[in-house]
Amino acid sequence: MLPTELMQEGEHLMTVCNACRYCEGYCAVWQAMERRLVFKESDLNYLANLCHSCSECYYACQYAPPHEFDINPPKTLAKIRAYTYQLYAWPQPLAKLFRKNGLLVSLLTALLLIGFLLAAGALLGNRLWQPVRSGDIYPIVPHEVMVLTFAAVGLFAALALLIGFLRFWRNVGERYSALADPAALARTAKDVLRLEYLDNGGAGCTYPGTESSQSLRWFHHLTFYGFLSCFVATTLGAIYYYLLGWHGPYGYTSLPVIFGTVGGVGLLIGPLGLFVLKQRRNRDIVDESQYGMDVSFLVLLWLASVSGLLLLFLRESAAMGTLLVVHLGIIMALFLTLPYGKFVHGVYRSAAVLKWALERSRPPEHNVEV
């Protein structure tokens, strides 16, 4: 259950907004709102995740503070969103990890790094510090060890995220069968991959300040596609290894290295840009309690990129062993914390956009004649 105070804040927001409707041209939140007259907790959970925090509505709002109605959609919806992350988390006892996420991520990363380095040091001794012929990593970490540990962590993260998605889907009143709608899926893919709701018809959004800008959208694109590109690089590496029998290290012009490098550069610039924007954003409209969670995810992505790129360029040097262990430690921390940190916004926001794609083609709950 939403805390009573937050529930009341959400209801007040929707009551004022639904009587006003000036923002209906901005994004799907307001069009979805107009289909409803009553706002249950599940409606608020859905609308909160549909909100992309672009802030246009806040600056346009005649009822924003210091007006007595005190309407602040991005902040109220962000608070509800943070609550839904815990609500849908699997396994449920781990949901409280969201609360001290920044601390968790830092501690876990440090522990994994120290653990990995100690283990590598104990197992390899001086060999850890010797240059490895042609950058081959397997003398440092045996292939089987790497595949087993990362497959286990990756599958766990994927399972936790999938269960989170399914819990959201049921909570907002959708059936699983509704997912089999190719048109809605295509529309969702387009809206999500383009970041349609941070674009506002080409003007961008009022983030970090009052002037519309595309900076949030582009830094997010660099981050998202950087992440995706690294994922493609890894997948290609697996295909090379298992299907084609080509063992690494792969040359600088090979596809896995190209995708990894491009992705790495994206993750070098994107999270840094997002971090800078975050420092400059208007504090009045953000839920400050999520700062740790947001920043720890950005830092992890950035560290993954830096350590990965260094590993690539120094793979024939004496630092390679250490860099490899550090990089793997960071990636491990990243994947272990995926289901309990900022990453989940992508899952629930996409799911909300998908629900909207389905909902907009249905008759509304209420169609008020005026």
């Binding site: 009587a19 006003c20 923002c23 901005y26 600056y59 346009a60 005649q62 007006h67 004649e369």
Partner: protein, 480 residues
């Protein structure tokens, strides 16, 4: 005190749509501009921050409006709502000039909703601002700052030095500190007097105590009053304006759009004595909406109560305040402190008079009463399905029409029709020159934009010496 406030070509008093249109237009003509906004930055924009659209003539579909809305149809709409109390020449000029407004506004960053969709189904006659009027004002202010217009907030003009139709200086409280500010030319765009409760009382009598002001608390009418006192011709009746029936629980000021109530047509409205007083089914919203404020203002204690039943719920725009709710009419009357027997009798008489028909809220349907005084001529359904609901209604004053008289160049006229020398006016402060009474949605913003642009340009030309004062010039704005 000299603090860089003097020496500007054009002084614009006001901070709403008309003021910003004038300031931007004067700046683009080449003048230096000082703009005085009485409100702090967070409440800037006058009543424009509560607006949503403007009414525009167009002969073919545009990106932001469907179909066409020709000059004659537009003029007939004005003629109808004002009952002829308009100035045909000024009205037609405004209508023609409205055609170029959206393009000009877009040039200053104002964004519009696409023509299709929208709450009011006004996509044919009105262009809707994306995000509403405050978003429009944000765009204007951002561009004004970039264009080098000097903007001063918390600047309340308390007096004007005007002699023989010539503006010399204004006495201004800037953050409470008195400053005298001179300029070559004045554009008065400071709105009406609807938030001056004493002045309202002079005009309306004690009834004004029960009025709610839907917009800015900063429209005190001080500039308007000083202009009239210094010999500028006034126009309009102080009791005329745009007054709608809103939720009785709305805040005294600045409640804006969310306080509107539109369930009048779905039930009956009784006064504090429990009696009906007007045909609730006469007209569609927004025409209906525009007359009910005055109707309630004429009732004892300026209060009305709209009574509906379960059938009506979900058929009107939701209000921001929940209605009173009860299982019987008697209980409902008790809840809202109305004479119980009288209300029960009124509802019974109404229910008995309802004739059979086919309810259709989208047309003037055939559901009506027979033998009542007054009749309900459309959408009359028996109020018989519990739970029953009641909403209190109060007059919600939106803007006033008493203003200064202007010519086609937006120049204020002196008593007797002579021109002033360097005083222009735009927006609500001169809207009475065109709207004697009544209202059509979005026309206030149209007048503000059209006259703001003209006033700004003319003021700049005058300040820069490009126009000989007193020469007759064909208005160039009407055609562009």
């Amino acid at each position: 005190m000299t603090d860089g406030f003097s020496g500007f070509d054009v002084l614009v008093i006001g901070g709403g749509n008309a003021a910003l249109a004038a300031a931007l237009s004067a700046r683009e003509t080449g003048a230096s501009v000082l703009l005085l906004e009485g409100a702090p930055p967070e409440f800037r924009g006058g009543n424009s921050r509560h607006t949503r659209n403007l009414r525009c003539m167009h002969t073919a579909p545009t990106e932001v409006m469907t179909d066409s809305y020709p000059e004659d149809e537009f003029y007939n709409d004005i003629l109808r709502v004002t009952g002829g109390q308009t100035n045909e020449q000024l009205a037609r000029m405004t209508i023609r000039a409205s055609a170029s407004c959206t393009a000009w506004m877009k040039g200053y960053g104002v964004r519009f909703q696409h023509a299709m969709g929208g709450t009011l189904h006004l996509g044919r006659t009105n262009a809707f601002f994306l995000g509403g009027g405050k978003a429009m004002m944000n765009a204007y202010y951002a561009h004004a700052e970039r264009a080098g217009i000097r903007i001063v907030y918390n600047a309340e003009v308390v007096d004007l030095d005007v002699a023989d139709g010539r503006f010399r200086s204004a006495r201004v409280l800037v953050n409470g500190e008195p400053v005298a500010i001179g300029a070559k030319v004045l554009v008065a765009a400071s709105g009406g007097f609807e938030s001056n409760l004493e002045w309202l009382k002079e005009a309306w009598g004690p009834a004004a105590d029960n009025f709610l002001i839907r917009g800015t608390p900063y429209n005190k009418g001080k500039v308007l009053k000083r202009l009239i006192e210094s010999g500028i011709e006034s126009i309009g009746d102080p009791t005329q304006g745009h007054c709608v029936a809103i939720d009785a629980r709305a805040p005294k000021f600045d409640g804006g759009i969310v306080t509107r109530l539109d369930c009048v047509s779905l039930g009956i409205v009784v006064n504090k004595n429990g009696e009906r007083f007007y045909d609730e089914g006469e007209e569609f919203w927004p025409k209906r909406y525009a007359i009910w404020g005055r109707l309630v203002a004429q009732q004892p204690d300026q209060i009305g109560h709209c009574i509906i039943d379960a059938k009506a719920m979900g058929k009107f725009m939701p209000s921001v305040f929940p209605p009173a709710k009860a299982q019987t009419i008697a209980e409902l009357a008790r809840l809202v402190k109305l004479p119980v027997e009288k209300v029960v009798a009124t509802v019974k008489a109404f229910n008995d008079a309802v004739q059979p028909g086919t309810f259709n809220h989208a047309i003037l349907d055939d559901c009506h009463t027979a033998g009542l005084k007054p009749e309900k001529t459309h959408w009359a359904l028996r109020i018989d399905q519990p739970p029953f609901y009641a909403y209190g209604l109060r007059p919600g004053l939106t803007f006033t029409y008493l203003g200064v008289k202007v010519n086609e160049r937006a120049m204020a006229l002196r008593k007797g029709g002579q021109r002033t020398e360097n005083i222009f006016a735009a927006g609500e402060i001169m809207a009475g020159s065109i709207l004697g009474k009544g209202y059509v949605a979005g026309f206030g913003v149209t007048i503000g934009t059209v006259f703001g642009r003209i006033a700004g340009r003319e003021a700049a030309m005058q300040a820069l010496g490009r126009v000989e004062n007193g020469t007759e010039e064909a208005p160039r704005h009407a055609a562009n």
